[in-house]
């Protein structure tokens, strides 16, 4: 277990989960979670993704530059939450990425073949409500998704009925902001009879027919993530300093604070000779001295 100082979380222990960073995917902008292979397949094909080796209990796929990752969660909220947590932690995905749950859902209120983005997700087993902020995309409805522990026949409700969305949201929101968690459901059945008639072939055909409707959501998700990265992405404290010099806990906090300011006020921070300092104290003194020169010129761009 090592210590990492990063922009978002300050000083934190990386924990055993992240010891092996060989498969880190810090370029990831979108994590797609779907319950079934048949639901994930069109997305795998769309992104030319391939299955990664040694990913643990859940199949994980990525496109060549790991900008998009996909995980097959299995059925149910528990499986969905575990798979999403595992993937986000195992691959150290950045907290700027968008997490998108894609899958089929029942509904008596929407037409079969219609895509709906969730504004509200309800875990019916705990009565937890999650309020999401999906993008407004022309032609796409927004609505409520109710997640059940077993297949439901509440077709009389105005909501969509599924078995994973609440699991994905409850897990993902521990890693990324709630605004970056989206749920897109394709209405597959409007009655119990239609639900019973659903087989792999029917789902495959439905997704194939309606996949174009999901494309704007995927595009928006990638752009949204890019915007979050642009707003927050700055280099962490140079690891050379932390590896080579001894910083006490309080010095580390001070260093994190000073470095945050320094890299903003001194855009040429990349030119800094990181090896010129012989001790933690020297680093801190240098940063403090430099920052003292920032005064009335703070607003100059």
């Amino acid at each position: 277990v090592s210590l990492v100082i990063d922009e978002t979380n300050g000083i934190r222990s990386t924990g055993a989960m992240k010891k092996d960073l060989s498969q880190t995917a810090d370029t990831c902008a979108l994590l797609v979670a779907a319950a079934l292979p048949v639901e994930l397949r069109p997305l795998i094909d769309c992104f030319s993704a391939t299955r990664l080796e040694g990913t643990g209990p859940w199949p994980v796929y990525s496109n060549p530059d790991k900008r998009v990752m996909l995980v097959e969660t299995g059925v149910g909220m528990l499986a969905a939450a575990a798979a999403v947590s595992h993937t986000l932690a195992r691959f150290n995905l950045p907290n700027t990425c968008t997490v998108l749950n894609v899958g089929i859902a029942g509904s008596g209120a929407y037409e079969r073949g219609q895509w709906v983005l969730a504004q509200e997700v309800v875990d019916t087993t705990t009565s937890s409500h999650y309020y999401l902020r999906p993008p407004r995309i022309a032609g796409l409805e927004r609505g409520c998704v109710r997640s059940y522990g077993q297949p439901s026949d509440d077709y009389g409700l105005s909501a969509l009925l599924d078995m994973e969305a609440a699991g994905v949201v409850s897990a993902a929101k521990r890693f990324v902001a709630l605004e970056q968690v989206w749920v897109a459901k394709l209405v597959s059945d409007k009655s119990l009879a239609q639900q019973h008639a659903l087989d792999k072939q029917a789902v495959r055909q439905l997704l194939q027919d309606q996949f174009a409707g999901l494309m704007p959501v995927l595009g928006e998700a990638l752009q949204y993530s890019d915007r979050q990265r642009a707003a927050t992405d700055l280099p962490p404290v140079p690891p050379q300093w932390l590896e080579r010099l001894h910083f006490s806990v309080s010095h580390k906090r001070r260093l994190a604070r000073l470095w945050r300011s320094y890299r903003v006020y001194f855009p040429d921070y990349q030119q800094l000779d990181l090896n010129r300092f012989g001790s933690a104290r020297e680093v801190i003194q240098f940063l403090e001295t430099q920052l003292k020169t920032v005064s009335s010129h703070w607003e100059a761009v």
């Binding site: 509200e120 902020r133 700055l234 604070r257």
Partner: protein, 331 residues
């Protein structure tokens, strides 16, 4: 407004119905308690500001009138605030609300009558004339007036409750309701101001200083008392000249007898709050300024802070004398 959450308890409230009628195309979502939307952890204030905050219509339960923090006042013996609105549509980088709340969504409490009753009760417990009520502590008093009907409800109320004072604190230019009412001697329309060169950089989405000055001019012409809030003071090149220019502009439009008060406050953040804000906006130059930390508060170096306050104090004193000048010391 494109997304409105409505607490089930106020779904049938006339104010809720009136607001919903104004936004027929907005998505409306019911919630059992506004806190389930507003206070939920894991929300990102910055992202919600970018997306456009949702509106939450709710009922304020529990304490509705609170004692203002020590150091927050304009000459009254008893200082209180009430918040019919949480958050504000503007996006000022120094604002403490972005560090205090989980959400940038706007919460409008529609049960105005309950606020009024609590204000009445508070006034009854104190000597006449000793109480002031600040309405713009947790939000902008005027910014959502067109939507909330706040002034239409509270101006008649304070006309009756003439022994108490109401301060409306705002950066908004939504003064139509004020202009539609007769000026009240116990209502102060206070405007937060800073030199335009700074406001452009840190007061995102807020009306320009020129527009605020124009609104002030209209109000004084109509006979209203106004207050000026130089709070927070933010360092800028040519600080003295910038503030001197701003005070000159104010002198030109506000007759001294209609100037209720001027308050001056320094830029300060609780250390933990600043830390949170820096993580929300890791590239923002104002928040990343090398502030000094002292007793849990991040602020400009003492000498700089004192110099800024002294300069503005002097400008204001020369204009209106010391009687109407107040220092805001809240951190």
């Amino acid at each position: 407004v494109r997304l409105i959450y409505v607490e089930e308890a106020v779904r049938e409230h006339p104010r809720t119905q009136a607001i919903l009628a104004k936004y027929p195309t907005a998505d409306v979502i019911s919630c059992a308690n506004y806190q389930a939307v507003f206070n939920r952890k894991g929300q990102n204030f910055r992202q919600q500001k970018e997306l456009g905050p949702a509106l939450i219509l709710a009922e304020k339960r529990g304490r509705r009138v609170m004692a203002a923090p020590p150091g927050f006042g304009i000459g009254h013996q008893h200082n209180f605030y009430f918040s019919h609105l949480l958050n504000c549509p503007y996006d000022c980088r120094y604002c403490f609300l972005q560090g205090m709340y989980q959400s940038a969504n706007l919460v409008l409490f529609v049960n105005f009558d309950d606020f009024m009753q609590d204000i009445r009760d508070t006034v009854a417990q104190h000597p006449a004339g000793s109480c002031i009520f600040f309405s713009g502590y947790d939000g902008d008093s005027l910014a959502l007036d067109g939507l909330s009907g706040f002034l239409s409800a509270f101006l008649p109320f304070f006309r009756e409750l003439s022994e108490a004072t109401l301060e409306l604190r705002s950066k908004s230019t939504q003064i139509r309701s004020l202009l539609a009412h007769e000026p009240l001697p116990n209502v102060v329309a206070a405007f937060s101001l800073m030199p335009d060169v700074v406001a452009r950089k840190v007061e995102h989405k807020a009306p320009s200083i020129a527009k605020r000055l124009a609104a002030i001019k209209k109000l004084v012409t109509a006979g209203w008392q106004v207050g000026i809030r130089f709070d927070p003071l933010i360092q800028v090149q040519e600080f003295d000249a910038e503030y001197a220019s701003l005070v000159r502009q104010l002198q030109a439009i506000i007759p001294v007898q209609q100037l209720h008060s001027v308050s001056v406050g320094a830029l300060r953040f609780p250390v933990k709050m600043l830390d949170k804000l820096q993580r929300l906006y890791p590239k923002d130059r104002l928040l990343l300024y090398p502030f000094e930390q002292k007793k849990g508060v991040s602020s400009y170096p003492e000498s700089l802070e004192q110099a800024m306050k002294a300069e503005v104090t002097q400008l204001v004193t020369q204009w209106v004398g010391a009687d109407k000048l107040f220092s805001c010391e809240v951190a």
